[in-house]
């Protein structure tokens, strides 16, 4: 058992993946000597060399496009996108190339590429550094999309993502990078695409992922004082979505609140609402409610506490759900 921050857990997970498979490469901006602006790749270039930990020119399409080529040659590139807001220049390579190559080639070309994206707000950053672009990728067939919320998952999920033969967009909860947890590096992890019930409850199901999981858990603690038992689910996988776990819970609670930082419109909450309502229509005692960022661009940081879902907004939604 070791105590890791999420950043350190990712670092250790990457190191382990590189030790286990010589084909694993890390590429991105400032991932070498600097170890990434969040130090997630700290020390890896020193230990694995410049050929395996590659400081690239400054162009995201180039990073993903060349990673695709490296994968075709038999490598397993792990690309770091420095901040969420900088993944868009690579969008074509991700949605038209990375996501479709396996399909287009009738399964002959596998692209085991992992794209790491520190995402979300709450760190008082300037614009383009606090985005939540996950829905763009979850809407894209051919990609798998996951988000870790704690150090234990960070350590295991990054290795599972790298080992997977499908392209994986890997979201890291930027604002939680320094949260610690005990990590059993020997444990066998849950399947990568399985959601997890973090707290059992009977009244309302609250589903979240990434940085919002902590908010959901805090809300559950607070709600308990009001006598409400919230069941908290960490979705972990956004594509595929583990609707089974959510449905099982909602069939018991009859109520679902989805929490994410991304804007409400066409965010993950929309898809969960649509699926859960279709599958558990008669079990629902209230409509699925969404606690999300607003349908605006991410505001200046002095406004982010108002923009981001927090404990009170979750509790407010829980009350509204119970009031139905």
């Amino acid at each position: 058992m070791a105590t890791f921050t999420i950043a350190k857990a990712l670092n250790e997970g990457l190191r382990r993946a590189m030790e286990d498979d010589p084909k694993v490469l890390i590429m991105g901006e400032d991932v070498g000597k600097l170890g990434g602006v969040f130090r997630v790749t700290d020390g890896l270039q020193k230990d694995f060399g410049e050929d395996r930990v590659i400081d690239t020119p400054l162009a995201e399409s180039g990073i993903v496009g060349t990673a695709i080529g490296l994968a075709m040659r038999g490598y397993r590139p792990v690309c770091e996108i420095q901040f969420d807001g900088f993944v868009y220049p690579a969008f074509d390579q991700i949605v038209s190339q990375l996501a479709k190559m396996h399909y287009r080639s009738k399964g002959r070309t596998r692209l085991p590429v992992t794209i790491r994206i520190p995402f979300g707000g709450g760190i008082g950053a300037v614009e383009h550094h606090s985005e939540s672009p996950e829905a763009y990728f979850a809407h894209t067939a051919g990609l798998k999309v996951v988000a870790c919320s704690n150090a234990v998952d960070a350590y295991h999920m990054i290795q599972q993502a790298i080992a997977a033969d499908d392209p994986v967009i890997f979201f890291e909860p930027k604002r939680r990078y320094w949260e610690k947890a005990e990590v059993d590096t020997g444990a066998t992890p849950d399947p990568l695409h399985q959601a997890r019930v973090l707290r059992a409850g009977t009244d309302v199901t609250v589903a979240a992922y990434g940085p919002m999981v902590r908010v959901a858990l805090d809300a559950a603690t607070a709600a308990e004082e009001d006598g409400h038992q919230l069941e908290v689910i960490d979705l972990r996988s956004l594509s595929p979505l583990d609707t089974g776990t959510v449905l099982e819970s909602v069939r018991r609670t009859g109520r679902l609140v989805v929490v994410h930082e991304a804007p409400s419109t066409l965010g993950m909450g929309a898809e969960l609402a649509a699926r859960v309502t279709e599958e558990a229509f008669y079990s629902l005692q209230a409509p699925v409610l969404r606690v999300t960022g607003f349908d605006t661009p991410y505001p200046s940081s002095r406004l982010e506490e108002d923009y981001l879902p927090d404990l009170d907004r979750v509790l407010d939604a829980v009350d509204r759900s119970l009031a139905f």
Binding site: L25, D51, T56, P57, A59, S61, G62, V64, G65, T66, A67, I68, G69, L70, A71, M72, R73, G74, Y75, P77, P89, D92, Q93, S96, Q97, H102, Y103, R104, S105, K106, G107, R108, T109, R110, A141, G142, K144, A164, D165, D166, H193, S239, P240, L241, T243, G244
Partner: protein, 371 residues
């Protein structure tokens, strides 16, 4: 100032200027170039001639098949046979090629059955051959995207310590895409074992080369710190020699080279296009005089490298190939409806499997109705 008034340098006549590498004149006269000596036997030239004639026949037949509704669309290589065969034959088996969507001649050189090219254009598949088996990637339609894949692949070759080289095909229009220029940056900075083979066929659909650059394209490479060379794209010998030397440079750690194969798109952009709307027939006439096949035929005849019998034999072979292609095309099976769900992922997802079974039973409900 109106755009009309802007002084834009027209690309020089390819037959003029020392900056064009040519080893066989349009008249079929063998000429030497100091940097690109080519010692080639009559038999090798005959083989190249055969390639040229056969790929053209494949192209003509495919165009006919489209006209008859057997293909949804076809992108003709007419006029670019020499650029493709010359560069394609310069490749070694281990070298990897990344085509766009018009490289039927390169596909031929890589041993891809022409029939496999038709699936994409008939709509029966999205990529009919095994990229690893042929070392020829599937076609890429999103302009420029494949140049980055080629660059990454070349970085892999580098890491393998292998002597393979990589070639990326793209067009004059593609040279404007960010991806292509990023590929130039990467290839240069990492000194990747890569050849950028740009077929400047003068047109990007309806847009002339002047809409993409105001200087000769091969000079683009100078801005990125690696050599650029313009070769007569209708001269199969020059294309062979120049590509071979660029590939050798790549193999020996000298990094990337940009080759501009100066040629012409003799046909429409695709069978859906109508070039009469935007270009003059006279231009076509001028380029017809530079036909990539005629000059080889003239050379072989004049030099006694081949006799009438040889040429007839090739024609017969072309006829047979055309027949086989046509029969094969119409027999290409339509894919099964449920194959829509195949190969989306290496590890299938429960969600998609549910969609598959849902659609399957939906389809069955009609089966029932038919009884």
């Amino acid at each position: 100032m109106t755009l009309g008034e802007i002084g834009v340098a027209a690309p020089p006549d390819p037959t003029a200027g020392p900056d064009l590498v040519q080893l066989l004149t349009p008249e079929g006269e063998r000429v030497e170039h100091p940097d690109y000596p080519l010692d080639i036997s009559a038999e090798e030239v005959r083989d190249l001639y055969r390639d040229l004639v056969l790929v053209r026949r494949v192209d003509v037949e495919a165009t006919a098949l489209q006209r008859q509704g057997e293909l949804g669309i076809w992108a003709s290589l007419l006029g670019q046979e020499a650029a493709q065969v010359g560069s394609g034959r310069a490749l070694r088996p281990g070298d990897m090629a990344f085509p766009s969507y018009r490289e039927h001649g390169v596909a031929w050189c890589r041993g891809v059955d022409p029939l496999q090219l038709l699936g994409l254009y008939r709509g029966t598949d999205l990529g009919g051959w095994d990229p690893k088996e042929r070392n020829f990637n599937i076609y890429s339609i999103v302009i420029g995207s494949q140049t980055l894949h080629a660059t990454g692949y070349a970085m892999g070759v580098q890491r393998d310590g292998s002597e393979d080289a990589v070639i990326a095909y793209f067009g004059d229009g593609a040279s404007s895409q960010g991806d292509v220029n990023e590929a130039f940056v990467w290839a240069s900075v990492f000194n990747a074992p890569l050849v950028f083979f740009c077929q400047n066929n003068q047109w990007a659909i309806s847009e002339p080369i002047e809409k993409q650059t105001r200087i000769p394209l091969y000079q683009r490479a100078l801005g990125f710190g690696f050599p650029g060379v313009r070769v007569d794209g209708n001269d199969v010998l020059a294309c062979l020699a120049v590509t071979r030397s660029a590939l050798d440079a790549a193999r020996t750690g000298q990094g990337p080279t940009f080759i501009e194969a100066y040629t012409y798109r003799m046909g429409a952009h695709t069978t859906s296009d109508d070039p009469t709307r935007y270009r003059l027939a006279s231009e076509l006439e001028m380029w017809r005089l530079r036909d990539p096949i005629e000059r080889v035929k003239a050379y072989l005849s004049r030099s006694g490298g081949a006799d009438a019998g040889f040429f007839e034999a090739i024609e017969r072979e072309a006829d047979e190939l055309a027949v086989r292609l046509r029969r094969g095309c119409v027999e290409l099976p339509d894919p099964e409806p449920l194959s829509i769900f195949d190969e989306v992922y290496v590890e299938p997802t429960p969600h998609l499997e549910r969609q598959r079974t849902g659609f399957a039973s939906y389809l069955d409900s009609f089966e029932g109705a038919d009884h």
